[in-house]
Symmetry: C2
Subunit: 305 residues, 2 copies
């Protein structure tokens, strides 16, 4: 199962009652954090999932509200006892930005691997996470991310027996390897059932909408997307600063056939009590208003109780 | 009058219910901020004194809990409409640290003057603020600060008349200048009364106590000082990390004859409900436990209502 927490919902500024937008994913004891603004380590403290097992940090872009918490978090992870390497990825400029911000971080007890991405769509596998960087359309180079967990096809004993596959080869075939044994070749399809859908979570913020984003986030189980303002009355405003409306996010969610949409990155000009997604839901019914530390767990449909 | 706000009381880490230790002073429409950790701009937002008129930022040292909020605050001050230069001062290394942290700050609409201090006691005047940097004894170069507002002696019309000082010279003499007029020299003491005490606020954190600190903070109206833990039972712990106990702060307060002591920079290991200053008050009665946004206003004794 994959645990997901929207750590905050603010855009531009951290507010007293609204942490900056960031997303945390937890799977098999490992974690991926997307974005790290000022205060992200504090909302993580309230959440209580711990700091030590943050393995990957994906940064969308280098505006302050998405990265000002990085140095503080790295120091806190350092104090948590982590010694395993940690990967930070982000758009062009990552090396310069991180070496600047971490000027105050000494004696960090783990290695930091920097993966400076180019501005094209690319998938990187780290452990069980398949992370796709998605070029966005903001005022500065900005990437969205889809994180996928693949799921192996089910091992079918009957199929293996029917195909006369020796038991000694089963383990390797289950892992996807081909086996040569006594002059005979055995392939994974001789023991495995149909491929099974894993999990896909997408995080898109600080961009105008476009077709390529729709394509990249297609079929997401959860689509976390910016709704700087909600309705078309603010279209000129978001166009000017290259942001997105909630209704535009809903249009993308509909086209991309995602299961569920969570809105986030709200303008500090809009108090929480005034956030209204009535019009958004008319476009995409399964929309939810993000709240700080809104959490869900994805489980495989055939494992549901 | 001088307004003072202790913006936060946490040491090492920002906590969900405790912002990092920082102090804000407001006098005559200008402000001095001492230290700027992650979240300092948020507690300032709750306080509501605004961002635009922050003229001076004094940094004690470059451990994360004292500086991780700098880039975010600079961006927020930039968005507040400030165009006047802003001064940042701190111990050796300031240029390198600030240019690192501000790698994400573009198009800031004001000039930043950096004052890199040496590790000796020195007073700098900026506007009405006389800021004295006080070398401390921490694991890295660290400075405390005393901020003083001087007060001119009172202009006495009777004294001026008695000394036959021409009216045309009064204004200059009141400002402290000497005047030559018709071959006669007039000096300020011919029109002014006795010198009057101004305000003095001192901020000392992340250090072992010593005599030189006592001397530097002597006669402070308010002494804001670290009490990482309160009692001597934790002496070995604070010695190891070069911090200070509340009871040690109280000893310094007593020796320095300050008017009032506020304790701050509490260990994250001690919950707020467990902070107990009973033993501290036995050493220095006028001790108060700092709380986030604890505020006071100093007024001249002869102006009290």
């Amino acid at each position: 199962m994959l645990d997901i927490c929207l750590l905050g919902t603010s855009g531009m500024l951290p507010l007293p009652d609204r942490y900056l937008t960031a997303l945390l994913l937890r799977y098999g004891g490992k974690k991926v954090l997307i974005d790290c603004g000022e205060g992200t380590q504090v909302t993580m403290k309230i959440l209580g999932w711990g700091y030590k097992s943050i393995d990957i940090i994906c940064i969308t872009h280098y505006h302050g509200d998405h990265i000002t918490g990085l140095a503080g978090l790295i120091l806190t992870i350092g104090n948590s006892g982590r010694t395993e390497p940690l990967t930070i990825m982000g758009p062009p400029g990552l090396h310069k930005i991180v070496s600047g911000l971490l000027v105050i971080c000494h004696d960090i007890p783990f290695k930091i691997n920097l993966v400076e991405l180019e501005m094209y769509k690319k998938t990187i596998q780290i452990d069980e996470f398949f992370i796709t960087a998605i070029p966005l359309n903001h005022k500065v180079p900005c990437l969205g991310y889809s994180v996928e967990i693949k799921r192996n096809a089910k091992f079918l004993v009957e199929k293996a027996e029917k195909n006369n596959v020796p038991q000694v080869a089963w383990r390797y075939l289950q892992q996807g390897d081909t086996v040569q044994l006594d002059g005979q070749q055995y392939t994974p399809d001789m023991v495995l059932g149909d491929s099974r859908k894993g999990f896909k979570v997408s995080y898109i913020t600080d961009t105008r909408p476009n077709e390529k984003i729709v394509e990249a986030v297609a079929q997401s189980d959860l689509f976390v997307c910016e709704g700087m303002y909600m309705d078309y009355s603010e279209l000129e405003q978001v166009k000017k600063y290259k942001h997105m409306l909630g209704v535009e996010a809903a249009e993308m969610a509909k086209q991309a056939c995602v299961k569920e949409l969570w809105l986030t990155h709200f303008s500090p000009a809009v108090p929480t009590s005034s956030l209204d997604i009535t019009n958004v839901k008319q476009i995409f019914e399964n929309t939810q208003l993000g709240t700080d530390r809104k959490t869900c767990t994805l489980i495989y449909s055939d494992e549901e109780s």
